[in-house]
C-alpha cells in the first residue's frame, strides 16, 4: 500500500504505536538504568558496613600484628567461594577471609590513609566482582601508626538476580500499559472519525436522492466542509433549474412577436404598416435572442471560484471603451481598493462591468468614476462596485422601468435597457443586488453592484 493512499485510521494508529513503542522503550531503559545504579549504591553501602564491622572487631598487637574478630560479620566470609570475600593488606600483614582462599582476586592494592575506592564490575577469573577498599592508619601506642587497607569483594550474582526480577516485572507492566493505551487510542480514533463516516453516508444518500442537504449538527471542524458541500449542491441544483428555464424562456418570449407578425399577415393592412410591424417585431426578437444568448454564456454563481481582481478587468474594459468613445474625451477615474476581488467567472465580471461602464460612458458628459470596496466576510469577502457618471441622471419613473426585462431607458441609445437587464440578472445569479440612484458626487446616474460576503 502506498503511503499516500493509507487510511486515516492506519495513519493515526501506526504513528501512535511507533510513538508509544519509542516512549515505553526509553522509559524501560531509563528505569532499568536507575534501578541498577541504586542497587550498586546499596551494594557499596553494604560492603562498606562489612569493612566497618571488621574494623570495630579488630585490634593490633604490640608487635604490630592485626588481630581480626573471631566471628566474621557475615557467615559467607567463612564459606569458601561464597561470593563474599574480605582481605587486609598493610605493613607485614596479609590476611584473607576463608571464603577467598585459592581465588585470584584483585586484593593487593594499598591505599593511603582515609582513601576509599569502589570499583566494579571488574572481570576476574571468578566472574564479575565489585570491590570496596578503604585505607586507614591504625594508632599504635608509642609507635608509628600502622597503615592498613581493607578490601571487601562481592561477585555480581546477587545483583544479577535482583536486576532480573526487576526487569521482568517492569516489562510485564509496560506491555500491559501499552496494550491499554493502544486500545484507548483506537477507540478514540474510531469515535473521532465517526462524523466523517457520517458525511460519507449522507453524501451517498444525497446522491441516491433520499436526503436533500447535509445536516447542521456536525463537529465544528467539519462544518466548513459540510457548508461548502451544501453550497455546492445548492448551486448545482440552481444551475439545473436555470438551464431548464432558459430554453423555455427563449421559446416563449419569441412566440409573442411571431404571433404579432402572423396576425398582421392574416389581417391585410397597408404594406407600409406591415413593414413597420415586422421591423418592430424583428427588433424585439433580436433583443430577445441577444438577451438569452448573453444569459446562456454566463457561468453564474459558483461555490468554488478563484478570486478575480477587479482592477485588471476594469482596465481592459476602460481601454476598450475609451477607444470606442474616443471622440467624446471621457475621463474614467478609478478608486479601487487593492483587495477588492470578484469570486466567480472572469467572463461574467466582464459582462457585468462592461455593460454598466458602457452605459456610464454613453450617458456621461466628461467624467465616469469607478470605485470598488471589499466587504469583510468570514469564509469569503464580499464586493461592492460603484459606477457613477456626470450625465443627466435618471428620473424616478425610468429608474423603476430600467431594470425590467428588455425595457429600454432611452430608445435612442442602443441596447441600454437590455444591457442593464442582463447585468441585473447576472448579479442575481451571484446572489447580489443592483441599486440604481443618482450620484451625489458627479450628479449623474449611480449604479451600485453589491455581492454579499460569505459567512
Amino acid at each position: 500500500m502506498r503511503i499516500g493512499s493509507m487510511s486515516l485510521t492506519a495513519r493515526v494508529a501506526l504513528s501512535a504505536i511507533l510513538a508509544l513503542v519509542a516512549f515505553l522503550g526509553l522509559t524501560g531503559y531509563a528505569l532499568e538504568r536507575a534501578f541498577y545504579d541504586s542497587a550498586v549504591r546499596a551494594m557499596q553501602d553494604r560492603l562498606r558496613s562489612h569493612i566497618h564491622a571488621y574494623l570495630s572487631g579488630s585490634d593490633v598487637s604490640v608487635a604490630g600484628e592485626l588481630i581480626l574478630p573471631e566471628v566474621s560479620p557475615d557467615p559467607r566470609f567463612d564459606i569458601p567461594h561464597s561470593g563474599l570475600y574480605a582481605a587486609v593488606v598493610g605493613g607485614k600483614n596479609r590476611w584473607r577471609s576463608s571464603s577467598a582462599i585459592g581465588l585470584d582476586l584483585p586484593l593487593k592494592t594499598e591505599l593511603a590513609r582515609n582513601e576509599e575506592r569502589f570499583i566494579g564490575p571488574m572481570d576476574t577469573t571468578s566472574g564479575k566482582v565489585y570491590v570496596e577498599s578503604m585505607g586507614i592508619a591504625w594508632e599504635v601506642p608509642n609507635g608509628q601508626p600502622l597503615p592498613l587497607t581493607f578490601h571487601v569483594v562481592e561477585d555480581d550474582s546477587h545483583l544479577r538476580g535482583q536486576l532480573q526480577v526487576f526487569r521482568r516485572t517492569l516489562w510485564i507492566w509496560l506491555t500491559i500499559a501499552a496494550v491499554l493505551v493502544v486500545a484507548v487510542l483506537l477507540t478514540a480514533l474510531r469515535w473521532s472519525l465517526m462524523p466523517l463516516k457520517r458525511v460519507e453516508r449522507d453524501v451517498a444518500r444525497i446522491e441516491r436522492g433520499s436526503l436533500e442537504l447535509l445536516a447542521d449538527d456536525y463537529p465544528s471542524e467539519l462544518r466548513t466542509l459540510t457548508h461548502s458541500i451544501n453550497d455546492f449542491i445548492d448551486s448545482e441544483r440552481e444551475q439545473r433549474i436555470r438551464n431548464r428555464h432558459r430554453m423555455g424562456d427563449l421559446a416563449h418570449s419569441l412566440k409573442t412577436p411571431l404571433a404579432v407578425i402572423r396576425n398582421a399577415l392574416e389581417n391585410p393592412v397597408e404594406s407600409a404598416a406591415l413593414e413597420g410591424v415586422v421591423a418592430e417585431q424583428v427588433r424585439r426578437m433580436d433583443d430577445i435572442v441577444a438577451y438569452q444568448l448573453s444569459r446562456a454564456g454566463t457561468a453564474g454563481h459558483t461555490t468554488f471560484s478563484a478570486p478575480v481582481a477587479v482592477s485588471g478587468v476594469a482596465e481592459e474594459l476602460v481601454g476598450s471603451l475609451e477607444k470606442v468613445h474616443a471622440t467624446r474625451n471621457i475621463l474614467c477615474e478609478f478608486e479601487l481598493s487593492p483587495d477588492a476581488c470578484f469570486f466567480g467567472d472572469r467572463g461574467d465580471l466582464m459582462e457585468i462591468l462592461g455593460n454598466v461602464l458602457d452605459n456610464a460612458f454613453k450617458w456621461a458628459e466628461r467624467r465616469v468614476l469607478l470605485s470598488t470596496r471589499s466587504i469583510k466576510g468570514r469564509r469569503r469577502d464580499g464586493l461592492e462596485i460603484q459606477v457613477e457618471d456626470d450625465g443627466a441622471g435618471i428620473d424616478a419613473v425610468t429608474m423603476e422601468r430600467l431594470l425590467q426585462r428588455g425595457v429600454r431607458g432611452d430608445e435612442r441609445v442602443e441596447g441600454h435597457g437590455l444591457g442593464l437587464a442582463i447585468v441585473d440578472n447576472l448579479i442575481r445569479d451571484y446572489r447580489g443586488e443592483l441599486l440604481v440612484s443618482n450620484s451625489t458626487t458627479l450628479g449623474g446616474a449611480c449604479f451600485q453592484l453589491r455581492f454579499p460576503p460569505l459567512n
Binding site: G347, M350, E351, G354
Partner: protein, 226 residues
Amino acid sequence: MRILLVEDEAPLRETLAARLRREGYAVDAAADGEEGLYLGREVPFDVAIIDLGLPKMSGMELITTLREEGARYPVLILTARTSWQDKVEGLKTGADDYLVKPFHVEELLARLNALVRRATGWSKPVLECGPMVLDTTAQTVTVNAKAIDLTSYEYKVLEYLMLHAGELVSKADLTEHIYQQDFDRDSNVLEVFIGRLRRKLDPDGEIKPIETVRGRGYRFAIPRSE
C-alpha cells in the same frame, strides 16, 4: 472614401457593399481572411469593416497581421458575439470599434463616418474651415452659410480634401480613395472635377479653397477652425 469590407456571408456582403457604394464609398469586398489580407496590404484604405468569424483566416488574425504590417486605417469589427470578453479582445488586437450583428445600416454608416473623421483628426461630424462648412452626416456643404449644390463625386472629392485639410493630396491618392477599382483613372476627369468645384465654391475667386501644387497634387488651403 475607400473601404475594405471582409465578410463571408454573401448576401450580407453584397447588400452591404451596394449600400456603401450608394453612400459614396469606394468598396473593395473580400469573402475570406486571406483575400482580405491581400487587399488590405495592396490598397490604401480609409477604413475597414472586418467580420470576426471568417474562413481561412480569422478576423482577429487578419487585424493583428494588418496592424503588424503597419496598416494604420481604422478598423470596425462585426461580430455575432455579444459578450464583452469578445469585444474587449477584438479591440485589443487593434480594432477601433465594434458592431454586433444584426445591426442597422444607419448605425454602421454613423460609426464609419466617425472612425474616418477620428483618423484624420476631426472630432465633430461637421468639418469647418473658415467660411466653409461640410456636414459629413447630412452630406451638405455651405460657404458663408450659403448652401452649395454638389454632385456626389464633387462632394466626395471635397470631403476627402477637407478631411485632409492642410495636407498635400496627390492625384493618385484622390483617384485611389474615391473611385472603384475598375474606374477609368484618367486624371483629366479629376482636373475637370476640381475645376468645377472651384467655380461652385468660390465663383468670385476670393477664398481660393483648393490650391494646385504643380506636378504633385492638391491641397485644401483654408486652415481648420476646430
